[in-house]
Symmetry: C2
Subunit: 480 residues, 2 copies
């Protein structure tokens, strides 16, 4: 088992004076971040937390959240990172499924759940005046560092286990593609509870790089960070980039911006072309919670000639396209399979889904003659709304639990602001209004998962095996 | 066991058009390097070589040598890299000890050994017109890739086993310190049979970076590569740097040179100061065959303020100073111990020398209050001559095998060109001339190990346990 020094501790030793995090509220060096982390870790130990503890984190992007995540690694606990937009019912499920022993929360989010049976601690109260000495000085790369929930086609979210090794290899693979400059500052305006944000935090302490941390994404603030605050790399999804371009108007980003890393699903060609015209160095990327961030990213030399492609695998990784158990030739569509030391070892308490060393993603795509990946659809039916993954099966499960609903289907509808929004289609047993159903959903689904419309149909499109054909829902419910 | 794609194959897939090696005779892309490697691998298979074969390589820096090393990895063989300056007797020892089954040699070096009992192949004859398909597509990081011989204090050279993982972690650790730019070109004017050169070859295929490969070090050629050919990083030892500065005269290196990586032993302060005045970005480093190249390197922000220090450990590594079984406090001298995933798992056919997870180096140094390493002496008595390690015990063993010699001691003497040169001290049983002894040594020791002088003494300095005090040899042989 490969071991290495605790990353933040090593950074605090190697490059103590460099800026580690430039948050909106304040800026700290690696030394200062380490000291705060030691104090937070001491407070955690005071609460009985320690090696092997399972600690859920429900916090907003902030220096305090970064310190909390690092402190959990210092005491050897696993961090279960929760999406702050979940409803009480969704939170309850993830807390129970993950067997969390502690919930560390930001006080502003306190109203979101009902009185829990586990120990919950307001993060403001996790401050110690003294520092612990009983921290983990060594990271074992095979040990689980973090768990994040993601839904599959089956509806119920599953906990993706990410090891220290997964995070290291992800950071290492990214740097071998994007390079690593001493003046790099990576903008994190995506949530730290998503892998897109957490991976920036990890790169920060592995690279010795400044993370510019925003609490929420605001296009004018993000642009200001690039224009005036020396941001060299920014992680965005399509909806963010669109709004940043609107805010930018006729202005241009400075040359100091060397990478605009665009993830979260295939990007529309008009957007990519607009970026090309404005000389914005967009690098399309494909990744997921299970790959600990990017696994396929376009290299700089192909960023324009292969516009629209997600690129080739990162250096330590492989991909292949499979169809009916066989590997597809170039240009043939199939399911994307991934392999690499950044790929999760599996889902918490679930059986392995690996095939011959590769993880099937459920996403559909093809490789061109040169081996570049083009992603056609995320997880067949996945709806990507403003960078959040929305799983139709989750919406359908809620609708089907309503006594008046006989059948339910959900799919994405194009939306100028969010890329996509979910819409639902139902067949009723007995009359119920759209407003009533939406109100029922609102209690059970995070806001971004809420269907924008619910349409009533006589039947839903199903294939010969009666499998719901979600892509055909919008066609009016005809059978095919 | 962590696995990843075969490095050169992956580079040939990811970045086929980039320049992989700019050798003096020609320049090849990663795609071209891959094709040549496939052909060389096919020829090797035609000779019966394959998975697990133990293949010694006795070659001069050249594209052909680079291809040979990569081809051995393609067929899953281990490369035993031999110093081309060894005598026939030294070669014979390393070939036998390593249990080499094949010797691949450059024809110009053919005269160096006697007719061997193993299969030896002129590298010119290892050219196939067809390509093999039976190569290793995956590297297992725990498997031994290369073996290099290094002597210890006991005299006989030992084979240091370097795994694929050791090489990857070395490259990864180096990039986290020095950064990684898309236009990087690393000058390799040090031998590929040394870890200083081999590690550049490995970084080339891991980073996707151009290696500028010189057959031998010539200061004017090295300077030209920096001045006119876009070299951004150069690996040098003190004797090389001194000669490059002489050749440079009043000229200045361009800003494109971002790292002058100075290894091979402590550097004299006047040289460092001269570089500082000329704004040459010298990064002192400390490393050895056992650490697969650098393990301690000065960070950019301290390159001037900590002048004279080798720096702090690379990100994945740790060091400590030990004396009489206890860890030394800051400023106290002791033996340097190293730890990290780039550190060898051990010596071929020798027992482990690890203590509590750390490898004792035999080198002497101390850490300052900030944790910066200052190396005082390489392996107590190691002589570093022009970047080559010379072990006194090896010279002494040869002298002691002469019938007229009773006692022998060797040590380094300062030399303006080579940094140090070996000198020897002997106590005779019966008369023999210095010339006769030198002639005897010449047959048994590589040229760079040959004593520049042999002094006759009545006795040699020994401590209370009769252990030879090599550092006191130059004082005239007084007992202490």
């Amino acid at each position: 088992m490969t071991m290495m020094p605790n990353w933040l501790m090593q950074r605090a030793f190697l490059t103590p004076e460099r800026i580690a995090v430039a948050a909106e509220e304040e800026t700290v060096t690696f030394h200062e971040l380490h000291i705060r982390t030691l104090r937070k870790a001491a407070a955690m130990q005071g609460e009985g937390m320690g090696k092997g503890s399972r600690c859920a984190v429900l916090m907003k992007n902030s220096l305090d959240m970064a310190v909390t995540i690092h402190a959990l690694a210092y005491i050897g606990a696993q961090a279960i990172l929760l999406n702050t937009r979940l409803t009480a019912a969704e939170l309850d499920y993830q807390l129970r499924d993950s067997e969390a022993e502690y919930l560390l929360y930001h006080h502003a989010l306190e109203h979101q759940w009902e009185k829990p049976s586990w120990i919950s601690i307001d993060s403001r109260n996790l401050e110690s005046l003294t520092e612990t000495e009983m921290f983990e000085k060594t990271f074992h790369l095979d040990e689980t560092a973090t768990i994040m929930y993601t839904s599959g086609t089956t509806g119920k979210p599953k906990g993706v286990m990410q090891t220290f090794g997964n995070h290291y290899w992800s950071a290492s693979g990214s740097s071998l593609n994007l390079g690593l400059h001493h003046d790099d500052r990576w903008l994190c305006a995506v949530p730290l509870f998503h892998i897109s944000g957490l991976s920036i935090l990890m790169r920060g302490i592995i690279y010795g790089m400044t993370v510019v941390l925003h609490e929420t994404f605001q296009p004018e603030k993000a642009n200001k960070a690039i224009m005036e605050e020396g941001v060299t790399i920014a992680s965005v999804v399509q909806a963010m980039l669109t709004r940043m371009l609107e805010d930018l108007g006729d202005a241009k980003f400075p040359d100091s911006l060397r990478v605009m890393l665009l993830g979260g699903g295939p990007a529309p060609m008009p957007l990519l072309k607009e970026c090309k015209e404005k000389s914005i160095p967009v690098y399309q990327t494909y990744g997921m919670t299970e790959t600990s961030s990017q696994i396929v990213t376009l290299s700089p030399e192909y960023s324009f000639s292969k516009l629209g492609s997600a690129g080739k695998p990162l250096f330590p990784c492989r991909i292949k396209i499979m169809n009916s158990g066989a590997e597809c030739p170039p240009m043939a569509e199939g399911e994307i399979y991934v392999q690499g030391p950044n790929v999760t070892k599996g889902y918490w308490k679930r059986e392995s889904t690996f095939h011959d060393g590769f993880l099937p993603t459920g996403d559909i795509g093809y490789l061109d003659e040169d081996g570049f990946l083009f992603v056609l659809d995320r997880r067949s039916d996945l709806i990507v709304s403003g960078g959040e993954n929305v799983y139709p099966a989750e919406i359908e499960a809620v609708l089907l639990s309503h006594p008046s609903v006989l059948e339910a289907g959900a799919a994405g509808a194009d939306d100028p602001k969010w890329g996509q929004v979910p819409v639902a289609y139902v067949v009723l047993k007995e009359h119920v209004s759209e407003a009533e159903l939406l109100s029922y959903c609102r209690e059970r689904l995070a806001k971004y998962k809420l269907p924008s419309r619910i349409y009533f149909r006589d039947s839903l499109p199903r294939n010969a095996s009666s499998k719901l054909m979600r892509r055909m829902l919008a066609d009016g419910g005809r059978h095919d």
